[in-house]
C-alpha cells in the first residue's frame, strides 16, 4: 500500500514539475492523434456526405461495411498497416515503419470508418429534411454536399471528437507500427503499458491521469457543443 502511495506522490510531482520526458510523450500522443483525426475527418466527412447525396449501386453495402468497420480491433489494424509498411510490404520503400507517421497512418485507418459511418448517420437525417428544398433550388451535387456538411457542423464536430477519443486511447495499433521507441514513437498508452509491466508505476500513473483528463475534456466539449446546438435549434 505504501508503494502505491509513493507512486502517486511521484506521479503528481512529475505532473507539477512539468517533467520533460512526461510531457514530450503527451505531446507526441496529441500530435499523432490530432493529425489522424484531422485526416480521418477530411476523408470520412466526404465519404459520409457522398454516401448521403449520391445514389449508386453498392451504396448500401458501403454503409454496412463502414458501420461494421467502426469496431475494428486496433491490433488488427496495426497488423495490417505493419504488413503494408514493413520492408517486404508494398510501401516498404518509404521506410515509415516505427515512425510517428506510421502511427498516424494506423490511427487514421482505425478511425476513418468510424468517422464515415457516424457522419453518414448525421447527414442522412439532415438529407431527409432538406432534400426537396435543395432539389427545388436545383443545387448541384457539390453544392448539396457542402450545404449538408455545413448544416451538420455541430454533429460532425462531435463525430470528430468521438474519433479523437478512440484514437488517443488505443494502444494496439500504435504499439505494432510505432514500436514504442523511447523519445521517438513512445506515446501515452504505449508508455503506460510498458512502465506498468516494468513496475515503474509513477510515470504510468501520471500519464494515466493526463489521459483521463483529456477524455473528460473531450466528453465535456461534446456535451457543451450539443447544448449549444440545441439552444439554437441547430441540433
Amino acid at each position: 500500500m505504501g508503494d502505491f502511495a509513493q507512486a502517486f506522490q511521484i506521479a503528481f510531482n512529475l505532473l507539477w514539475s512539468m517533467d520533460l520526458e512526461l510531457y514530450s510523450i503527451v505531446y507526441l500522443s496529441l500530435k499523432v492523434s490530432i493529425s489522424a483525426v484531422l485526416i480521418s475527418c477530411a476523408i470520412g466527412f466526404v465519404i459520409g456526405a457522398a454516401l448521403t447525396v449520391f445514389r449508386f449501386p453498392g451504396r448500401r453495402f458501403l454503409l454496412i461495411l463502414f458501420n461494421a468497420l467502426m469496431g475494428l480491433p486496433p491490433v488488427v489494424v496495426g497488423l495490417m498497416v505493419y504488413m503494408v509498411l514493413s520492408r517486404a510490404g508494398p510501401l516498404g520503400v518509404l521506410g515509415l515503419l516505427y515512425t510517428p507517421t506510421a502511427m498516424i497512418v494506423a490511427q487514421t485507418v482505425l478511425i476513418t470508418p468510424l468517422v464515415a459511418a457516424l457522419s453518414a448517420q448525421v447527414l442522412q437525417e439532415l438529407h431527409l429534411e432538406y432534400d426537396e428544398f435543395f432539389r427545388s433550388l436545383q443545387l448541384s451535387a457539390r453544392e448539396k454536399l457542402m450545404a449538408l456538411l455545413w448544416e451538420g457542423r455541430f454533429g460532425l464536430v462531435t463525430v470528430g471528437l468521438a474519433g479523437f477519443g478512440r484514437a488517443i486511447s488505443e494502444v494496439g495499433a500504435v504499439m505494432i507500427v510505432g514500436g514504442n521507441i523511447n523519445h521517438m514513437t513512445r506515446i501515452m498508452t504505449t508508455a503506460i503499458a510498458l512502465e506498468t509491466s516494468k513496475g515503474t508505476l509513477a510515470l504510468a500513473l501520471a500519464l494515466g491521469i493526463i489521459l483521463i483528463v483529456i477524455s473528460l475534456l473531450v466528453n465535456t466539449s461534446v456535451a457543451l457543443i450539443r447544448a449549444k446546438a440545441r439552444e439554437a435549434i441547430y441540433a
Partner: protein, 260 residues
C-alpha cells in the same frame, strides 16, 4: 387606370413562361394511385388558386409542377421546360425559374440572414450585392429585427414569411405556394398577400394552395378544385363561385360532409 398600368407591366414581364399543360397525368406511389388523369392548362401569368380537401393531392400537384416528382404516366409540358439549361436563374438576366414554397417551411440551421444569403449565393449574386438584397428581403417580410436570430428559432409564421421572402428575392418567374398563410395571424396574412400581389404585378405566375375561401375570393384569377386526386373544376373565379360544377366542390365550400 391603375388596372391598365398593371396590365402593361404584366405583359412585358409575363413572357418567359409558356402555359403549363398537364396531359393525362397520373401519379402512383407504391402501387397506390394518388393523382388520377389530370388534364388542365395553367396560363403563363395570373394567380391560380388550388382548392380541395385535406389529402386531395394539392401538394402533390405542386410537386409535379416543379418536377420534384415525376408523373408515372402522362406529361407535363410548357411552363419553363423549353428553356435551355438550369432553371435556376436570378433576376431577368438568365433562364427563368420556378420556385416552390413548401407547406412546412424548411429552414437551414443558420440565421434568418444566412437563410436568404444562401439562396442568393446559389444564384451567383455578386458578393457586394448580397447584404443589400438580404436587407430588402427581410424588410419585405418585416423581419428586419430578426436578421441574426437562428431561423429555426423563429415562430411558425415568421418562418413562413422568411421562406416566402427567400424565394421572392430571386425573382422567380413562377411562384408556387403551398398554404402560405395557413398559420399566420391577420397582419402576417396581409403582409404575405401583399408580397404575392406584388410578385403578380411584376408578371410572376402564381399558383397557390389555400383553405381560406375568402382569400381565394379576394385573390384568385382562376380556381382549380382538386378532389381525391382528380381535377373536378378549373374555372375563372367568378364562374367557380357561381357554379362550383360538382357536388364535391359545393360541399367543400359549404364545409359539409359529402353525402355518398
Amino acid at each position: 387606370m391603375l388596372e391598365q398600368t398593371n396590365r402593361t407591366v404584366k405583359s412585358t414581364f409575363a413572357r418567359r413562361c409558356k402555359p403549363l399543360q398537364f396531359e393525362d397525368v397520373v401519379l402512383e406511389i407504391n402501387g397506390i394511385t394518388l393523382i388520377h388523369q389530370i388534364n388542365c392548362t395553367l396560363e403563363a401569368s395570373g394567380k391560380t388558386v388550388v382548392l380541395g380537401p385535406n389529402g386531395a393531392g394539392k401538394s402533390l400537384f405542386l410537386r409535379l409542377m416543379t418536377g420534384l416528382m415525376e408523373p408515372t404516366n402522362g406529361s407535363i409540358t410548357g411552363g419553363l421546360e423549353e428553356q435551355e439549361g438550369a432553371l435556376t436563374s436570378y433576376q431577368d438576366n438568365g433562364a427563368p425559374c420556378m420556385s416552390l414554397v413548401f407547406q412546412n417551411p424548411i429552414m437551414l440551421r443558420r440565421t434568418a440572414y444566412e437563410n436568404i444569403a444562401f439562396v442568393l449565393r446559389h444564384h451567383r449574386v455578386p458578393k457586394l450585392e448580397i447584404a443589400g438584397k438580404v436587407a430588402a428581403a427581410l424588410s419585405i417580410a418585416r423581419l428586419e429585427t430578426r436578421a441574426q436570430v437562428p431561423a429555426r428559432r423563429l415562430s411558425g409564421g415568421e418562418q413562413q414569411r422568411l421562406a416566402l421572402a427567400r424565394t421572392l428575392i430571386i425573382n422567380p418567374h413562377a411562384l408556387l405556394l403551398d398554404e402560405p398563410t395557413a398559420s399566420l395571424d391577420p397582419l402576417s396574412t396581409s403582409i404575405v398577400e401583399d408580397m404575392i400581389e406584388q410578385a403578380d404585378g411584376m408578371g410572376t405566375k402564381i399558383v397557390f394552395v389555400t383553405h381560406d375561401i375568402k382569400q381565394a375570393k379576394r385573390m384568385a384569377d382562376d380556381i382549380l378544385f382538386i378532389h381525391e386526386g382528380r381535377v373536378l373544376a378549373h374555372k375563372s373565379k367568378r364562374d367557380f363561385f357561381k357554379d362550383p360544377g360538382s357536388k364535391q366542390a359545393q360541399a367543400y365550400l359549404d364545409g359539409r360532409v359529402l353525402e355518398k
